[in-house]
């Protein structure tokens, strides 16, 4: 399979102006590529830059140099230095991101939080709600919670709302940052099944999975991440 995401010579440092312009290099000459049906697991010790790499792929962090190209609307699109509207279009149609924590929106019920990405892509609101309810049910969120804003949900419930929100739109590329971090075993296994289904359906996945059970169950390949200068 040809890749849908390819990264080369990627460099990212954080410059802290309040600390006398202290520069912390995190990514140096990173290269990788991912094809449909693959799940690339980023591995490395805490602080090695795994989340920084994942966030750079999503266009959330801004690398200083290098290239991140993604297959979007049948074309290669460069994300490093891209215009905001280009990144937004890629996020709306091609690339989803599951973060560790749900960013709660005041007053919006869980079902609408989950349905939103699908509505944004132009799906009818009713269809999006039905699919959102289906996913929430599949992830074990009790129906009595669906209409409530997730601000008061437990950590595990919020994380499952977050996963449902990212899976609803069938993105061809999916980025997962510790998708099972605060889940119990039963719910974790449910999420593993969903990720495997997506992968087998041809989604290209890049993820961080500290839980080795999860990693072994979903990853097809590993990619080592280390800070510049660190001993491998």
């Amino acid at each position: 399979m040809l890749p849908v995401l390819r990264v080369s010579a990627l460099n990212k440092a954080f410059v802290m102006h309040a600390q006398g312009d202290l520069a912390l290099p995190v990514l140096q000459d990173v290269a990788l590529s991912v094809a449909p049906g693959e799940c690339l697991a980023l591995v490395g010790p805490s602080g090695a830059g795994k989340s920084t790499l994942l966030r750079s792929l999503y266009g959330n962090y801004r690398p200083q140099s290098g290239s991140i190209q993604i297959r979007h609307r049948d074309q290669w699109v460069e994300l490093v230095g891209a215009e905001p509207r280009v990144v937004l279009d890629v996020r709306r149609h091609t690339m989803g991101f599951v973060s560790q924590f749900l960013r709660v929106i005041p007053r919006i019920g869980a079902v609408d939080v989950v349905a939103e990405p699908m509505v944004r892509r132009g799906a009818p609101a009713e269809e999006a709600r039905r699919r959102a309810e289906f996913l929430l049910g599949l992830l074990g969120i009790p129906a009595r919670l669906w209409a409530l804003p997730p601000a008061t949900f437990s950590g595990g419930e919020q994380q499952r709302v977050n996963i449902a929100r990212s899976l609803i739109a069938d993105y061809p590329v999916l980025l997962l940052d510790e998708p099972t971090a605060s889940l119990d075993t039963a719910n974790r296994d449910g999420v593993i099944d969903l990720i495997r289904q997506r992968r087998e359906a041809g989604t290209a996945i890049v993820g961080i999975f500290h839980d080795t059970t999860v990693r072994d169950a979903v990853a097809t390949r590993l990619h080592n991440v280390a800070l510049p200068g660190a001993q491998p």
Binding site: H17, A18, N60, R85, I105, R107, I108, V119
Partner: protein, 257 residues
């Protein structure tokens, strides 16, 4: 994609010796919500007023892609044509609702007036549309004939939004729309604005000093300091990976709850 809806090129505005906004350039595309953030006195509101044609810049140009008139130079238009544009294709939400409303006439008349300005003449239709909009901004219909002087601050702000959006503008300027409101009232207003922006595919320029409001409502941010844009980008990029010293300081100053 089509063309930018609003383009600013080198917009500069002086008040006497002081430069309130300096050499600002950007393009706003259809469906985008652009936030302008920065501390008090950084030139945010001056820039907004220059963009909306309420202040004449000393340098630079602002062009707008009008549905009715094609590409127009906002500051090259006659006063009459600019006013026509402002009430047909634009909206302007003031921080102080009293400046954006007519306080001496009823809520219904505040909304109806905008409809009449774009040519509505049938009383029944105007009243029905006014009722629909009151419901949309969550104001009880039995308050339709009351004057906004009898409304709370949050209700006034929602009424001002209804008055601005009833004419289905393509571009809305907002100056601290949630400023001065209680947090619960603010959350309700934010929720309302988010829904309206999505539903009507609005483009907007929003001035706020509240980075939480910017995170919820905007796609892109420009950070202003001392009249200059020091950083811009996607909202989450600017807030999660701030590059400029001033932006890093702003983001680091957010109080966690």
């Amino acid at each position: 994609m089509s063309a930018p809806l609003l383009s600013a090129r080198g917009v500069t505005k002086r008040f006497g010796e002081r430069i309130a906004c300096r050499d600002v350039s950007f393009e706003l595309w259809p469906g985008e919500v652009l936030g302008i953030v920065g501390e008090s006195g950084s030139g945010k509101t001056t820039l907004l007023n220059c963009l909306a044609g309420r202040l004449t810049p000393d340098g630079g140009t602002v062009t707008y892609e009008s549905a009715a008139a094609g590409t127009v130079d906002v500051h090259g238009l006659s006063e009459a044509r600019r006013r026509l544009l402002a009430r047909t294709e634009w909206g302007f939400v003031n921080q102080d609702a009293r400046e954006g409303l007519r306080m001496g006439v009823s809520a219904g008349a505040n909304i109806g007036e905008r409809l009449m300005a774009i040519g509505a003449r049938h009383y029944g239709t105007i009243r029905q549309t006014s009722c629909d909009w009151l419901a949309r901004v969550e104001i009880d219909l039995d308050r339709l004939d009351d004057r906004p002087t009898t409304y709370s601050g949050g209700m006034r702000q929602r009424l001002q939004i209804a008055r601005n959006l009833v004419s289905e503008p393509r571009l809305v300027f907002m100056d601290e729309p949630t400023g001065g409101l209680d947090v619960s009232v603010q959350a309700r207003l934010l929720d309302l604005l988010r829904g309206l922006v999505d539903r009507f595919h609005l483009s907007a320029v929003l001035v706020t000093h509240d980075l939480g409001v910017a995170r919820l409502l905007t796609h892109r941010l420009m950070v202003m300091q001392g009249g200059k844009v020091v950083e811009d980008g996607l909202t989450d990029q600017v807030l999660d990976d701030p590059q400029h010293a001033y932006t890093q300081m702003l983001v680091a100053s957010i109080l966690p709850v």
